[in-house]
């Protein structure tokens, strides 16, 4: 049986270098390009009719926009709509990375910890930036939970620092782990059904099919979690206590 981690291996396809930095094109990078192309195509096509009675694609796009708008309103309030393009792009990018990765033979970009880590760190840094920009130095008050008695401060501040630093970590690890685990299990089951042959192979195969549906759901849920947590962190920056 083939190594279940084999699908995560990358190979340089087009070697490239920018100022001494290795920026070679590999399968994951091609998947990113695909995601950008597909999302652009879908969303620009969705808006093209622009009529009051929406087409199917337009309805889906509007549903999506409303969904994200709802998230922002709930966590950040109406002011948060400034970040709508960022949040929506983030959701779409992650969602389509997750979904396209489910195609047989494709590569799941979000199963790379560096990719999810870069997103998480970027988003977290942005929330800190927004917080300091709005509240100035007072934003450090986020490390002091409201209603903490003075003698507990030496304990609470380190705990809060750890909580804060854990945010990007949990954000990136969650997405990476979910995507990786799902693909590993799918790969193992599919391998079993191939090697099982016709006689008993149908059992793991039906599991594979069921799990595939589950993975599609997880692709959505993980994209949703990443996005809503981004909104929550941004919201914390907006409304200090």
């Amino acid at each position: 049986m083939e190594n279940p981690l084999h699908p995560f291996e990358l190979h340089t396809i087009v070697p490239l270098s920018l100022f001494g930095l290795d920026v070679s094109i590999n399968k994951a990078v091609i998947m990113m390009f695909l995601v950008v192309g597909l999302v652009t195509l879908l969303l620009t096509k969705a808006r093209s009719s622009g009529s009051l009675i929406p087409t199917k694609l337009q309805s889906v796009a509007e549903l999506l926009v409303e969904f994200i708008r709802g998230m922002i309103h709930e966590t950040m309030g109406p002011d948060g709509m400034r970040f709508f393009p960022l949040i929506a792009t983030l959701f779409l990018f992650i969602l389509f990375c997750n979904l396209l990765g489910l195609m047989p033979g494709a590569y799941t970009v979000t199963s790379q910890l560096v990719v999810t880590g870069a997103f998480a760190l970027g988003v977290y840094m942005l929330s800190l930036l927004v917080g300091f920009k709005i509240h100035g130095v007072k934003f450090l008050g986020i490390l002091v939970p409201s209603g903490t008695p003075g003698w507990l401060l030496p304990l609470m501040v380190p705990i809060e620092i750890i909580s804060q630093l854990a945010r990007p970590v949990s954000l990136s690890v969650r997405l990476f782990a979910n995507m990786t685990a799902g693909h590993v299990i799918l790969g193992v089951l599919f391998g079993l059904s191939i090697s099982g042959g016709l006689l008993i192979g149908w059992l793991p195969f039906s599991f594979t099919v069921a799990l595939y549906g589950l993975e599609v759901g997880i692709a959505f849920i993980q994209a949703y979690i990443f996005t809503i947590l981004t909104c929550v962190y941004m919201g914390d920056a907006f409304h200090l206590h």
Binding site: L5, E9, L21, V35, Q58, V65, F119
Partner: protein, 169 residues
């Protein structure tokens, strides 16, 4: 795990930011504004039509209330007219009755009075006649002229006799 192959990190992060940036820019510039706008336009339109519908409903309700009020007013008016007519008829009837009753009473009384008067007159006539007759008869019988006073006394006695006879009858 192959994901921790450091060799690919730089290119992955680089292209991640590039593609995310491109996608962000494209969607920000071309996709989101029209979709958000369409959404808001539709929401506004729906809100407007709901408001309009609500307005028409209240107008219709108001009209209905007005109409009903008018209708009930008309019914009341008709009722009042009928009642008035009835009352008038009743009044007329009573008035008529009253008048008839008084008239008949008056006529009756008048008739009675008339009869009484006639009777008295007749009586008086008879008395006078009788007195004259008695005087003549007495003159004739006695063949003598009595004094005026005798005449009168005799006449009165005759009359009283007649009257007494009359009363005894």
């Amino acid at each position: 795990m192959p994901q921790f192959d450091v060799h690919f990190f730089s290119s992955l992060i680089f292209w991640e930011f590039i593609s995310f940036g491109i996608l962000f820019w494209v969607l920000y510039k071309f996709a989101f504004p029209p979709i958000l706008e369409a959404l808001e336009t539709r929401e506004r339109k729906i809100r407007d039509s709901i408001e309009q519908a609500e307005q028409s409903r209240t107008t219709a309700e108001q009209r209905l209330a007005e109409y009903e009020a008018k209708l009930s007013g008309a019914a009341q008016e008709a009722e009042a007219i009928v009642a008035e007519a009835k009352a008038k008829a009743q009044r007329l009837l009573e008035e008529n009755e009253q008048r008839l009753r008084t008239d008949s009473a008056r006529i009756q009384a008048e008739t009675t009075r008339e009869i009484e008067r006639e009777r008295r007159k007749a009586l008086q006539d008879i008395r006078n006649e009788a007195a004259d007759l008695a005087v003549t008869v007495a003159e004739k019988v006695l063949e003598r002229s009595l004094s005026e006073d005798d005449h009168r006394r005799l006449a009165r006695e005759a009359v009283q006799a007649v009257a007494a006879g009359e009363a005894q009858k």
